[in-house]
């Protein structure tokens, strides 16, 4: 029944997020032939100059294959930001939703630890679907534009997104347990996510030290090997944050 309650609390955010991320991913994938044409035309007109030259050249290079294009446009850019946004929004209520019914929930014969665990598990299940279903949609629709996208790529990138992204989810949970209002946790977590995304864009070496590198599955894309170190470190960091959030909720007065 706690699972049902968690679903009722989060369903609209989940469904809106799912629709938005799938539409964005499909929009990217299905416009590949057009974008590819534009980029080829641009590269025939000579190499671009200026501060964004390396970015453009990289985009051209990645877009030479559908796999590279999907990774760059869908996984590395749109999904990272949109998925993180919805991870933060799902966590912003706190592990124990305080908007309505908190006193009723706490009067049930259930420990706060279990309440937090069920809510987090339900959220992470939804976040797993938010990571997987858009990439599966790309796999299914890729033949429509004359290409293919491997199911294994979809699955492995979704796993990277979910495991790396648990950091932002658990960070927001902790912030929600510390602050009374809803907005500070959201703003602080999103600010960190944007800073991480932008900084690794311009200084790719930083990706190894941030969850962004794991979430975007950069290592897997380039070398075919999962980012094992990051896949171990960031969930451990996330688990520590979750533990702190639960302890804070257990000690809190309602």
């Amino acid at each position: 029944m706690l699972w049902y309650k968690a679903w009722l609390d989060t369903r609209w955010r989940f469904l809106i997020g799912l629709a938005l991320i799938i539409c964005t991913a499909l929009g990217n994938a299905l416009t590949y032939p057009t974008v590819q044409g534009i980029l080829e035309e641009a590269s025939r007109n000579g190499s671009p100059n200026g501060p964004l030259a390396s970015e453009i050249n990289l985009a051209v290079q990645l877009s030479s294959s559908f796999r590279g294009y999907v990774w760059d446009q869908v996984v590395h850019h749109n999904m990272y930001y949109l998925w993180t946004l919805f991870a933060v929004l799902l966590a912003a209520d706190g592990a124990l939703s305080q908007r309505t019914g908190a006193l009723f929930t706490l009067s049930l014969p259930v420990s706060r630890r279990r309440l937090c665990a069920v809510r987090a598990a339900a959220d992470l299940l939804e976040l797993g679907l938010l990571a997987l279903l858009p990439l599966l949609a790309v796999t299914l629709t890729a033949p429509a534009v004359g290409h293919s996208y491997a199911l294994a790529d979809a699955l492995i990138h979704a796993i990277h997104m979910l495991i790396g992204g648990t950091f932002f989810y658990c960070l927001t949970l902790l912030l929600a347990a510390v602050f009374e209002d809803r907005w500070r946790p959201i703003l602080l977590a999103l600010a960190l996510a944007i800073f991480s995304g932008v900084s690794t864009e311009f200084m790719p070496a930083l990706a190894a030290f941030s969850p962004v590198g794991v979430m975007t599955g950069e290592s897997y894309f380039h070398t075919g090997a999962p980012a094992w170190t990051g896949l171990l470190i960031w969930p451990a960091v996330a688990a520590s944050l979750f533990f702190c959030a639960v302890r804070r909720i257990e000690d809190r007065d309602y």
Partner: protein, 299 residues
């Protein structure tokens, strides 16, 4: 033979930064009683109840329910298995329907009384398919009460159960409560600032002010013990002090001297004879008078 105690708080304190919500609260709620907790807004009633339910951690002192510590996570779950709670906020799940919320709550209580729930749905006229967020204040209160009553609880903790209800709805809720207690033998610990309501259903009462119990006992005993002694003199009433035990307050009004006492009215009259009153009468007092005297004295 003394009745077993279901709720016991000893020196219970709760400090919120610079606000003292409970300041050494001592209460003993006997099993099977209907125990009314009276106090002004902000007196500490809600904090006391939340502490018993494990929603608030006490700063000092002890709170026990069924002999179990209310501030320990593991024992608090055991307390909540045997207790129905209605908070003053009635913060139920807005997105569920009445039927969903009843089914949801039933899942946590093995002793859930489905027959009783169906009966209360009918008698409270609750629309099962309506979302909780669309219910009136009265219907929300009735639903919250249904959810507390039907879990087979041995103890009901009700925080301002009738606040915000019109007189008809309030009476309906009180009658449901009285009949439930009569049939099931449940102990009820309820807070209110409606003195008439407490007098109507409670058999034990405590008056709480600034986080401390200033009075506690069986309502009949209190009614029996508290008296107002009215003394009338030929001229102006003398400014005097009474030494008899039980004197709570002495008030001079022209020729009259009014002595409010928690006990020993006969002894007060005996002491007053030396002052030469032309008349001396003893009056019973209402709970409202007791409440106002004690609270104004504390104030």
């Amino acid at each position: 033979m003394t009745e077993p105690i279901i709720i016991k708080t000893v020196g219970l304190k709760k400090q919120y930064q610079d606000v003292t919500a409970l300041d050494g609260l001592n209460l003993s709620v006997p099993s099977g009683s209907i125990y009314g907790l009276l106090g002004r807004n902000g007196a500490g009633k809600t904090t006391a109840m939340k502490t018993l339910m494990g929603l608030v951690r006490p700063t000092a002192g002890t709170a026990q329910v069924f002999g179990l510590a209310a501030d320990q996570s593991a024992t608090s779950i055991l307390i909540r298995q045997r207790t129905g709670f209605v908070s003053d906020e009635r913060d139920l799940y807005e997105s569920m329907t009445v039927a969903d919320l009843i089914a949801f709550t039933a899942a946590f209580y093995p002793r859930w009384r489905a027959d009783m729930a169906a009966r209360y749905v009918r008698s409270f006229d609750l629309p099962q398919s309506r979302a909780v967020k669309a219910l009136s204040r009265g219907a929300r209160t009735k639903l919250a009460l249904l959810l507390a009553l039907c879990r087979g609880a041995e103890l009901l903790i009700l925080d301002e159960a009738t606040s915000g209800l019109d007189p008809v709805a309030a009476e309906e809720v009180l009658q449901a409560l009285i009949s439930h207690v009569a049939n099931e033998g449940t102990t009820v610990f309820f807070s209110s600032h409606q003195i008439a309501e407490v007098e109507q259903i409670a058999d034990h009462v405590a008056i709480i002010d600034r986080g401390r119990a200033v009075l506690e006992g069986a309502l009949d005993d209190l009614r029996e013990a508290y008296r107002r002694v009215e003394l009338v003199f030929e001229g102006d009433a003398p400014a005097t002090q009474f030494h008899s035990p039980g004197v709570v307050r002495v008030e001079r009004r022209g020729r009259a001297l009014s002595v409010f006492a928690s006990s020993g009215a006969e002894q007060i009259i005996e002491e007053a004879r030396s002052l030469g009153p032309v008349s001396a009468e003893t009056h019973h007092v209402t709970l409202k008078e007791v409440f106002l005297e004690l609270i104004s004295r504390e104030g």
